[in-house]
């Protein structure tokens, strides 16, 4: 028996892909991904129409998808994150049916529960054997963890693995096992390594970013959560990494060893693991080459699926054991609702990813954001889109003070006792508006272009088209 087929086109035909079906992709190759475009081109050439694309995220490298949307090859779209270039076109209203945004935990959960069944999953694999055992840790297109692809592999009706590093059977150190895989295709390249992983992300040198990072580390210290067994997730942004650096210094000084670091893993988290700040890293996605190497070589650094990471209705998920998460925001309102989906003009330029999942699970969910970006205040009366509900956000850290959600009076008292500069979120808004002025609300269209599905599967908010 062989699962090897000659081409993507052959795999598409063998899977009996028909009009109206649903196909899925993961985003571990990020902006370097070739696979989604290659597959969609073959599908379009095969004359299949009216498909739903369920991708864990879409990057601007996936702009050719817009053409398939215009040609009605693709009429439905679901993703956890959509980058600004593709997002702009979607905000202009090129699709009849609204895009569905889910979270990194909600997506695999809905796949598992059959709410968003997948007919064919196309899994880009940096290394695979002819039976479909595959891994992201090896090969010229190595991306590290394949966390977002597990649910697709486990629950899709047909699974096609596409690799540019076919190795002899068996690939011992596989992530996704052959018993989920129907076909294997070998191609010249699944992606451009330059776009797959970034180089080492640098810690911010911006003084304002450093002030916020220092506040963030002190909030964590004062929260009482920073003790033996502490667990932590942070983003890859400059200020979030700087917060991790300050946190590392505190942990080393106090001799605290955490239980695990979670998330999208960066070189900085790897560094904390090696320094003894954590016993384990749980890795759903690698952000840089150091993280890929560590996942490959260090047994304490463990790949996890998005289901295990964040799915809300599994028996448990790692986010439920998380102490602290540091997150970003494009805007936050006085009820602590956070928008990470749209930009200041209302164009789609992101998505929740794991934002809502970790915020819901963590004991302390913290937003780091400057009081204003360019001339726009971050705190508003009402966010343009609720990506993460305010009830799941505990604290906002800015350079101009720290605002605690009134729901967390206990936390507020601890931070006050530690002498941290606390400010009421409404005051923070006024303080910022004294500098920036109050921007006029941006006009929104009358047509819904995207639905934001909360992690529990309910409709949480909608995004309207932008009038140009």
């Amino acid at each position: 028996m062989s699962k090897l087929v000659k081409s993507i086109r052959e795999a598409v035909e063998l899977c009996a892909l028909k009009d109206g079906m649903s196909v899925s992709f993961h985003h571990h190759l990020r902006n370097g991904d070739y696979v989604l475009n290659m597959v969609m081109e073959e599908i379009a050439a095969a004359g299949v129409k009216d498909l739903t694309v369920n991708a864990s995220s879409l990057f601007d490298a996936h702009a050719p998808l817009l053409e398939h949307i215009e040609n009605q090859v693709v009429t439905g779209l679901s993703a956890d994150y959509i980058a600004a270039g593709v997002g702009r076109a979607l905000s202009q209203g090129i699709m009849d049916k609204p895009v569905q945004f889910r979270t990194h935990g909600g997506r695999p959960n809905d796949i598992r529960l059959g709410r968003t069944p997948i007919d064919v999953a196309f899994i880009a694999a940096p290394t695979a054997d002819p039976m479909g055992n595959c891994s992201g840790k090896y090969g010229k297109s190595a991306c590290g963890s394949l966390g977002y692809a597990f649910a697709d592999a486990m629950f899709a009706k047909k699974v096609v693995v596409i690799t540019d590093n076919l190795v002899d059977y068996p690939l011992a150190d596989y992530s996704i096992s052959e018993n989920f895989v129907d076909y294997v295709v070998s191609v010249d390249a699944i992606g451009d390594p330059k776009g797959i992983v970034s180089g080492t992300t640098r810690i911010t040198r911006d003084p304002v970013g450093l002030v916020m990072a220092s506040h963030a580390a002190r909030v964590i210290e004062a929260s009482g959560l920073l003790k033996e067994g502490f667990s932590f997730q942070t983003g890859a942004g400059g200020a979030s990494l700087a917060a991790a650096k300050f946190l590392k210094e505190i942990m080393l000084k106090k001799g605290i060893q955490g239980s695990f670091g979670l998330g999208g893993i960066t070189a900085y988290m790897v560094d904390m693991l090696r320094a003894g700040c954590f016993r384990t890293l749980l890795d759903v996605q690698c952000f840089d080459l150091d993280a890929v190497k560590s996942l490959r070589e260090d047994p304490r650094h463990r790949e996890i699926s998005a289901l295990q990471y964040a799915a809300p209705t599994g028996r448990s998920a790692v986010v439920d054991s998380l102490d602290v998460v540091i997150l970003g925001a494009t805007e936050i309102d006085t009820d602590f609702n956070v928008n990470v989906h749209t930009d200041s003009n209302g164009y789609i330029m992101g998505g929740s990813g794991g934002h809502s999942d970790t915020a819901a699970g963590a004991k302390l969910s913290m937003i780091i954001a400057p009081m204003f970006r360019a001339r726009l205040p971050i705190v508003t009366d009402r966010v343009k889109c609720i990506s993460t509900p305010g009830q799941d956000i505990d604290v906002l850290v800015t350079q101009g003070g720290i605002a605690v959600n009134p729901r967390r009076q206990d936390l507020r008292e601890k931070l006050a006792a530690a002498g941290l500069p606390l400010v009421d979120i409404a005051e923070l808004k006024e303080k910022t508006e004294r500098i920036t002025g109050k921007p006029a609300p941006c006009p929104k269209g009358d047509r819904v272009v995207a639905e934001v599905i909360g992690r529990n599967g309910d409709l949480q908010d909608v995004i309207y088209n932008v009038k140009e």
């Binding site: 040198r205 003084p207 304002v208 450093l210 002030v211 220092s214 350079q399 101009g400 002498g419 303080k431 004294r434 500098i435």
Partner: protein
């Protein structure tokens, strides 16, 4: 309390609007070296508006105007004094006459704002005491080592052997005149250990605080120039011992086997005053 003073370029709006968030006890809006001649007016307007509109509660606002050898200094003062900066920093101060000159002009403008003299030439160092005691408006001396070493025709080093004399001289002159004295910035923004050593040296020599050109240095400077918990606890013990001595009608008293005399009491009072300003209390930090 002025442990740290952070320079902010007067022509950089982003730094100015965030100046009150960077943790320093004072900020120095710079209209002099950081600003090119063709931007002097723009920076003056920007700093004026910053003083006018921004809330700097808890952070002193100092303006470094252009020196009295330039055509700009009077314009600077006219534009800014109505918005009541906490201090004016006068660069290139070389003589008591410089202080009398600015004092007269500020009096003419009806301003009571104090002046800090930036001493950054050999002549300025030699005249330090005369400068420090020239007028009641003069509140502090401030050593500027970059220009000074150029004037001395020596190289500015991290170790600072070349400015040892100037440091000692300024501290003695300022203390003799009863005014504060501030140390020159440490200019390597990437040397986290160097700034700590340099700040500790300045404190050991008797400086009141230290200026900085980088927000990254502020926290270290604040920490070096803050009393330690041990200092604070000892200061309270001294004050208690003195109170006890008074109660018992004793003239002198010893604490931990050491005589408590007037200088020790003075220092304890200063420490307690600083600690209270920092919100430190006995036995907790």
């Amino acid at each position: 309390m002025r442990r740290s003073m952070l320079f902010l370029p007067g022509n950089n709006p982003n730094m100015l609007i965030n100046g009150n968030c960077l943790g320093s006890d004072a900020v120095i809006f710079d209209l002099e070296d950081a600003v090119a001649p063709d931007q002097k007016d723009a920076a003056r307007i920007l700093v004026r508006n910053t003083l006018k509109y921004m809330d700097f509660r808890g952070c002193e606002r100092i303006v470094r105007i252009n020196s009295i050898g330039t055509p700009y200094w009077k314009e600077d003062l006219k534009a800014l004094l109505p918005y009541k900066p906490d201090l004016i920093l006068l660069p290139k101060t070389e003589s008591a006459q410089d202080i009398l000159t600015i004092d007269a002009y500020m009096t003419e403008l009806g301003s009571e704002t104090g002046v800090m003299a930036l001493i950054e030439t050999a002549l300025g160092v030699e005249n330090a005491f005369l400068i420090a005691s020239a007028a009641p408006r003069l509140k502090a001396l401030f050593l500027g080592a970059e220009d000074l070493t150029a004037d001395l025709r020596c190289k500015r080093t991290k170790e600072g052997r070349e400015i040892e004399y100037a440091r000692h001289r300024l501290v003695v002159a300022a203390r003799a005149a009863g005014v504060d004295v501030y140390d020159t910035p440490f200019t390597d923004v990437n040397d986290d250990e160097g700034i700590e050593v340099d700040a500790a040296l300045a404190k050991a020599l008797g400086f009141t605080g230290k200026a900085s050109i980088s927000p990254r240095h502020v926290e270290v400077i604040n920490s070096v120039f803050s009393p330690t918990q041990k200092d604070v606890d000892y200061a309270y013990e001294v004050m208690e011992a003195i109170a006890l001595a008074k109660e018992q009608g004793k003239g002198a008293i010893s604490l931990h086997g050491k005589m408590i005399d007037a200088p020790i009491v003075n220092r304890a009072q200063q420490t307690i005053a600083t600690a209270e300003a920092l919100g430190m209390r006995r036995g907790e930090f």
